[in-house]
């Protein structure tokens, strides 16, 4: 599938970059979000409540 994409049009490649780019940005920022919650203790505090 990836080989087909490499030989595909720029628009197909652009859509691929858009989908995986946005997913990637959200995924990385979700990780940052978890870090903040863990470091600030709010994750554990909420559980304790």
């Amino acid at each position: 599938m990836f080989d087909a994409l490499i030989n595909g049009t720029d628009l197909e490649k652009g859509i691929f970059v858009t989908v995986f780019g946005m997913l990637g940005v959200f995924a990385v920022l979700i990780l940052f979000y978890l870090i903040i919650r863990i470091f600030s203790g709010s994750l554990f505090r909420k559980k304790a409540e």
Binding site: F20, G21, M22, V25, I30
Partner: protein, 410 residues
């Protein structure tokens, strides 16, 4: 006397147009206060590089063409990348000695040194505490990157190749250093227009964002109040965050490490509490000096022959599209999240628009609109949280584009 006449004789209309463009940028910087720290040096650089026989760019050019290099480049399209310090004049390649602006371009921008140094300064200026108080705001920093990818698709539809299109899309990061970083890797040919668009539109955030926000929100939505908790965080949180972010970025998107790492290094200097002098130096001396050199170097890429072409107008237009898509992406994402939130706990959707990286201008714009609707409504801190997240989001988006695009290009 011959030298004087040669200078006058070599002035052409394109050069004069570039002087006018340079002057317009300088006037916008001085009269309108639009990003003066960058637009003024860029404008002056644009004038400098278009002076007749501009020695600031090319200290000297050989009088005879190099026929060996010319024949190789003619027979191997794209081979000009292999030959440094050759300039094409009427289809022939001449060797040249670089002038001061070319040296700055090669050593400061093409090596990515200036963007990285600027990020150390920005990192030292950023206070992540508002984000720690509203961690959920980080998702607006992701949603508002939509403009980058949407604009990239528009650029592809306009027949730009994938690499150039992604460099154009990155204007939507609303983040000058990231735009420069990506453009220097993917679209050296369009470096001038992309950099100028990135910085010009950043200064136009107060003009671009309000109409888009008003178009996509109702008055009732703009009046939504949001709770803000005053909380203090331990030194540990503030110090551990930049270190953890750098490690995660290094694992997930290694190519983004120069940008993320330098931003977080600057932030660590700020938060550690024992490097006050270095923190101040990064925020002031380092940022000021690099900004000064960066601006004039960007201006030096605005040579008339490269800048005055239809693609430049397209890039400038798409930069505007990128900012509109960014704003719309953030606002619509906030409205989407509100579908799942209880009454009284909803986001003011304007906050989503602050997810772009233009810090702190975008947050101020949101607060201004909110206060215009209701003078007692304060959403500044929430907007700042989203704005700081936008800084992170734009670097991550830039890193992902740098990682994904080369995988798809032969």
């Amino acid at each position: 006397m011959d030298g004087l006449l040669a200078g006058i004789a070599s002035i052409n209309l394109k050069m004069v147009i570039m002087y006018v463009i340079g002057l317009v940028l300088i006037i916008l910087a001085i009269k309108k206060n639009y990003e003066p720290m960058l637009l003024l040096p860029i404008g002056f650089g644009a004038i400098l590089v278009n002076l007749p026989q501009s020695v600031v760019k090319y200290a000297s050019i050989a009088s005879e063409p190099d026929m060996f290099v010319t024949s190789i480049i003619r027979n191997n399209p794209g081979a000009e990348e292999l030959f440094k310090h050759y300039i094409e004049i009427d289809g022939l390649y001449y060797k040249y000695e670089p002038g001061i602006l070319q040296i700055l371009l090669e050593s400061g921008i093409l090596t990515e040194l200036f963007p990285v140094l600027i990020f150390i300064g920005i990192g030292a200026m950023i206070d992540f505490s508002p984000l720690f108080k509203n961690p959920v705001m980080i998702f607006f920093g992701a949603a508002a990157q939509f403009g980058i990818f949407a604009t990239m698709l528009v650029a592809i539809a306009l027949n730009f190749d994938l690499k150039t299109a992604s460099a154009i899309g990155i204007i939507g990061a609303a983040d000058g250093p990231t735009a420069i970083y990506v453009a220097s890797k993917f679209a050296k040919e369009y470096f001038g227009p992309i950099s100028v668009a990135a910085y010009s539109y950043m200064s136009l955030v107060p003009i671009i964002q309000p109409p888009v926000i008003r178009l996509l929100t109702t008055k009732k939505e703009r009046l939504i109040r949001m709770e803000y908790r005053e909380e203090k965080f331990s030194k540990f949180v503030l110090i551990a965050f930049p270190i953890a972010v750098t490690i995660i970025a290094g694992i997930v998107a290694p190519i983004s490490v120069p940008l993320v790492g330098s931003l977080m290094f600057g932030n660590l200097i700020r938060e550690c509490g024992v490097l006050e002098r270095l923190s101040q130096a990064a925020q002031n001396e380092l940022s000021n000096l690099v900004t000064l050199l960066l601006g004039i170097t960007i201006g030096s890429t605005m040579e008339a022959d490269k800048f005055l072409r239809p693609e430049t107008l397209l890039i400038l237009a798409m930069g505007l599209v990128a900012f509109v898509f960014d704003t719309a992406g953030g606002v619509l994402f906030a409205k989407f999240l509100n579908l799942f939130r209880k009454e009284g706990n909803k986001f003011n959707p304007m906050i989503g628009a602050a997810g772009i990286s233009a810090f702190p201008m975008s947050a101020r714009v949101i607060q201004k609109i909110a206060q215009k609707e209701d003078p007692t409504n304060f959403v500044l801190m929430q907007a700042v949280s989203a704005n700081v997240s936008g800084q992170l989001g734009s670097i991550v988006a830039g890193g992902l584009i740098l990682a994904l695009v080369p995988m798809l290009v032969h």
